[in-house]
Symmetry: C2
Subunit: 129 residues, 2 copies
């Protein structure tokens, strides 16, 4: 099954621009073929790979690092340890990020609680209790 850039944009949520940008940045595991008129032809595999890249990006992996990972995959067997290293390092960063976010969340929740109490106390005073 082959897909146009527009279809891929649709099913990944990336823009057409972003897809071309990603390709230029070298973060497509196997290079995209071209159909008649030089148009890009994607496969389901490309879409799957992109979905993973999106996950990596969403969790803050910078484009150059995704490119490094992609290059390893393109090279084929033999460098699994290096790939593992990249993933583990990123995993650790995500872990820290989540811990940080949780800390922020705690503070925000605390503040929300305080303001809610306050607002409620004002409200009940207003209706005469």
């Amino acid at each position: 099954m082959s897909l146009s850039i527009g279809q891929v944009a649709e099913r990944t949520g990336l823009s057409v621009h972003a897809l071309r940008f990603y390709e230029k940045e070298g973060i497509l595991a196997n290079q995209v073929h071209r159909g008649p008129g030089g148009r890009r032809v994607y496969t389901q595999q490309d879409v799957d790979w992109l979905r993973m890249c999106i996950m990596l990006r969403m969790s803050g992996m910078p484009v150059p690092e995704i490119r490094r990972y992609t290059e390893l995959v393109r090279q084929g067997d033999g460098n699994e340890l290096q790939r593992l290293d990249i993933l583990k390092e990123h995993q650790e960063r995500v872990r820290q990020q989540m811990a940080q976010l949780q800390e922020c969340m705690d503070l925000i929740t605390y503040k929300v609680g305080k303001y809610e109490d306050y607002v409620n106390s004002i409200a009940s005073r207003a209706i005469g209790q």
Copy 2:
């Protein structure tokens, strides 16, 4: 107790540049006094406020929204509901962000597991098992 910009930088982790930037952006609850020679003089309150702003930033609240919140606080009593709204909205965004991160984390963890298995299987074959 009054602090210089350098001291505040030290205890907040922000750069001196960033502190001036934040001030210019209007995200300091009470404006910073100036000492002899026009130097900024901060109080512990300022540091506390900055620490909260840092939390908000870290969790992705954009500077303009922190400014809006700051302005409400500067205006004083009476707008607690609006403040609460901002905080709750942000809380929701953080919640979503964490869910997303968790999703990414799950994928990464899955991949790490796969690669670890693979690498281990290679390793044990190498030592003749």
